[in-house]
């Protein structure tokens, strides 16, 4: 056998095997039966993106690059705690699957003019219910309740919206599985209240195995993609798959924001008091959990 033929065979053989495997693998064969329904995809994606563990902590480093390539940086620590399901919903969702109210305590380290500032959010799951938000301004010793009902405004001057950071309630949209690729379920999500949002619809590319929303593209009235979220890195932390690096691009202006989550920890038993007793903990940050 000539050397080149041998080489050719050696290339073809495994490829053939691979193709055969690809065609007959249990995954492919069972795809029709195994494919989860749209509701399940939505639920599991939401869980991976926003509800891993019952609580969590992350140090967030944000780099905002505007259309003229000027860079600004933010650094803050997020503490997150999921509320238990209300009794009437406890049957509907198991303890692990509850995707309801959450509380976020966000302590700013940088830039220096906002150091020690604290931002507290009680995110309410109920459709149409506004979140409760407070801001603590250390220089004035002022706990200020914030009147901000629009969740689709920039979070700390970045390309991420409040809703991108805390999670958009899936009940706000109609979901449709428009495509299934090798790696992805592609969902098209259309808002139930178009007047409340700036997009006509958005599409999510959800990784089939992990339910990580790898890309989210937002489309305007002319069906043009104008805003794009992409996951750049994923790690398994404390047993939970975690998005540790993500990018939000403004495709119209050309700016973007990179978000990276460092020192992520889950299930730390964060005391509910930190989030509820805000008159205390906004003024006295719980440094043992923040550091």
């Amino acid at each position: 056998m000539s050397k080149s033929l041998k080489q050719t065979l050696l290339v073809i053989a495994p490829l053939t095997l691979l193709c055969v495997w690809a065609v007959f693998s249990p995954r492919t064969l069972g795809a029709e039966e195994e494919a989860p329904g749209v509701a399940e995809i939505v639920d599991r994606t939401n869980q991976v993106a926003y509800y891993q563990g019952k609580d969590g902590k992350a140090e967030v480093f944000m780099t905002i690059v505007d259309s003229q390539n000027r860079e600004r940086n933010r650094r803050f620590t997020i503490l997150r705690r999921d509320e238990g399901p209300p009794e009437e919903k406890a049957d509907k969702y198991g303890e692990d699957e509850y995707r309801g109210d959450q509380k976020f305590y966000i302590y700013f380290h940088r830039p220096s003019d906002v150091e020690d500032m604290v931002y507290l959010v009680w995110k309410h799951h109920e459709f149409g219910e506004d979140d409760d938000r407070w801001l603590y301004l250390p220089d004035l010793d002022l706990v200020k309740r914030i009147a901000a009902s629009d969740k689709r405004t920039s979070f700390v001057g970045s390309h991420f919206f409040y809703e991108d950071v805390s999670g958009r309630n899936p009940d706000n949209d109609e979901h449709e599985l428009v495509e299934t690729t090798g790696n992805y379920y592609v969902l098209k999500n259309t808002p139930k209240r178009p007047d409340m949002v700036e997009f006509k619809y958005y599409k999510m590319w959800i990784h089939k195995d992990s339910f990580v929303p790898v890309q989210i593209s937002y489309y305007n009235d002319r069906d043009q993609e104008y805003r794009k979220y992409t996951v750049q890195n994923v790690e398994k932390i404390d047993g939970y798959l975690t998005i540790t690096k993500a990018k939000m691009e403004d495709l119209q202006s050309g700016g973007h924001t990179m978000l990276s989550y460092d020192r992520v920890k889950y299930d730390r038993d964060l005391p509910v008091d930190i989030f509820d007793n805000y008159q205390r903990y906004l003024r006295n940050p719980p440094m043992q959990y923040i550091k």
Partner: protein, 495 residues
């Protein structure tokens, strides 16, 4: 098998499935209008394998799920972060602050003050040290302002080359209690630039002359004890502030801002500084402030009590002709919470002028009732609108009127004030335009505070603004400051 062939095979094993199963054109430029096709599928990020990648090897251990490129990026970012923080992270305490230059000028001809209202250089330093169950905060200002030409340090007045803003020790003697002792900034109540139950010292000189609004709050030398009901199983929480020696406002006295002097019967300024006698005996001329609060259905309810002195001069000592701070007690209440799409607040306070309970003493201000209601809403994206109505009702008005010395300007029984705050942010929230306006239909005067600020980068901020007083008469609350209308600009470097 030929040497060098295995890598090729391996290459195919790994990449063929990716070619087959992943979207072919993640790198394709953004599509024209139209729904995305298969070709618009994104690449799988590092840390997530395609389905077949899992077959080719065990899943990577924690922290190693990233490719070389990403690790490099991470390292690069960490290096950048380190450089950007300037090594301040390595200190055993938190350190920060800013350096600022700020200048302002009067636009009207004020016969009693200089044309330059402000020309200062300020270095603000903050140090924080956290221990396991306590912390120390220190904030100090070094400032030089030739307008006043007074450089002697006076920590009560806050003028001079050095001002101590904060020097407090925070600890929890028991689980349900926080204590803050030392020099500190204190705030409570629901008003926006209107204060009813917040009787902590204000620095009106800074406020009217164009310093940052943070400087409206003057420090207290006090002990604050907070008892948290939720940690005791009680529905209410308590704040107690004890100030062993009266801390008055840094009130308008003519040195920097001209004012209506009732003794002279005219406006006066730096040549007629308001002379005061301040109660200043430790532990006898003291202040006590209490707040009892709880949250009910998302509404924050509070009751307040204060015992001390009028914070700004509210009386005259007949023998000496000096202004003074008569005794005062205040009883109040407030509520704040969601109202429709915004936040509403309501506050009430009864000011009991303890040295003139009947209202007939012409040398001591009468008791008052103060009432406030306010509402704030995000009216459009990055645009917030807020409004307040404030009433100051003078009690025993007949006695006041009957005993007013001849020649004194009489104030109204009711002082109504309306305020509006408009805030718009632009350019990724780096540019902020705001206007705060006070308007009193009863005094027929107004005070406008327009401001524009721009964050040049993470360190530099430039800002400009004005303090505009409009008046019909010379003696009304805002009208007396008419000649002080000024515009200012500042440049700040934060670190």
């Amino acid at each position: 098998m030929a040497k060098g062939f295995a890598p090729l095979l391996y290459f195919f094993l790994i990449f063929f499935p990716l070619i087959v199963f992943s979207a072919p054109a993640g790198a394709q430029p953004s599509l024209p209008s139209g729904l995305g096709e298969e070709s618009s599928s994104p690449d799988v990020p590092s840390g997530l394998g395609g389905p077949e990648e899992e077959k080719t090897g065990p899943s990577l251990p924690e922290g190693l799920g990233t490719g070389d490129e990403t690790q490099e990026e991470t390292k690069e970012r960490e290096e950048k972060e380190g450089a950007w923080l300037g090594g301040l992270e390595d200190l055993p305490f938190q350190f920060g602050g800013f350096w600022e230059v700020r200048g302002g000028a009067r636009t009207g001809n004020d016969p009693y003050e200089r044309d330059v209202s402000l020309a200062e250089t300020r270095l603000h330093l903050e140090i924080q040290k956290y221990w396991s169950s306590s912390s120390l905060d220190l904030a100090a200002d070094f400032l030089y302002d030739p307008v006043l030409a007074e450089h002697d340090v006076d920590l009560e007045e806050g003028e001079g080359l050095f001002d101590l803003r904060q020097f407090r020790y925070n600890f929890s003697p028991v689980g349900f209690m926080d204590v803050r002792a030392g020099r500190q900034i204190l705030t409570w109540g629901t008003g926006d630039l209107l204060f009813l139950n917040d009787l902590f010292p204000k620095d009106w000189r800074s406020f009217f002359s164009g310093r940052d609004v943070d400087y409206l709050k003057a420090p207290s030398d006090a002990v604050k004890v907070s008892v948290f009901g939720s940690n005791l199983g009680l529905p209410v929480s308590l704040d107690l502030v004890y100030t062993p020696r009266f801390d008055p406002d840094r009130f308008i006295d003519g040195r920097r801002t001209s004012y209506w002097n009732p003794l002279l019967g005219r406006r006066a300024g730096r040549h007629d500084i308001l002379e005061t006698e301040t109660p200043d005996d430790w532990f006898t001329d003291d202040e006590l402030a209490l707040r009892l609060y709880r949250s009910v259905m998302g509404y924050e309810l509070a009751l307040y009590y204060y015992r001390g002195f009028w914070k700004s001069p509210a009386g005259i000592i007949p023998d000496s002709g000096l202004f003074t701070h008569p005794e005062l007690a205040v009883y109040g209440a407030s509520a704040e919470g969601n109202v429709g799409p915004g936040i509403g607040n309501i506050e009430f306070a009864f000011y009991e002028s303890r040295e003139d309970m009947s209202g007939s003493d012409p040398f001591v201000d009468n008791s008052q009732v103060r009432f406030l209601m306010g509402y704030e809403q995000e009216a459009a994206r990055n645009f917030t609108v807020a409004g307040q109505y404030y009433l100051e009702y003078l009690l025993d008005y007949d006695e006041y009127r009957d005993n007013l010395p001849a020649g004194q300007r009489k104030r109204d029984e009711d002082r109504h004030v309306l305020t509006v705050r408009l805030t718009k942010t632009l350019l990724m929230q780096n540019l902020e335009l705001s206007l705060f306006a006070f308007y009193s239909p009863s005094d027929r005067d107004a005070y406008l505070r327009p401001r524009i600020s721009y964050d040049i980068d993470d360190h530099w901020r430039v800002e400009g603004g004005g303090n505009i007083f409009l008046a019909d008469e010379k003696h009304t609350f805002f009208g007396q400051f008419e000649k002080n209308t000024n515009f200012y600009a500042g440049l700040r470097y934060s670190f």
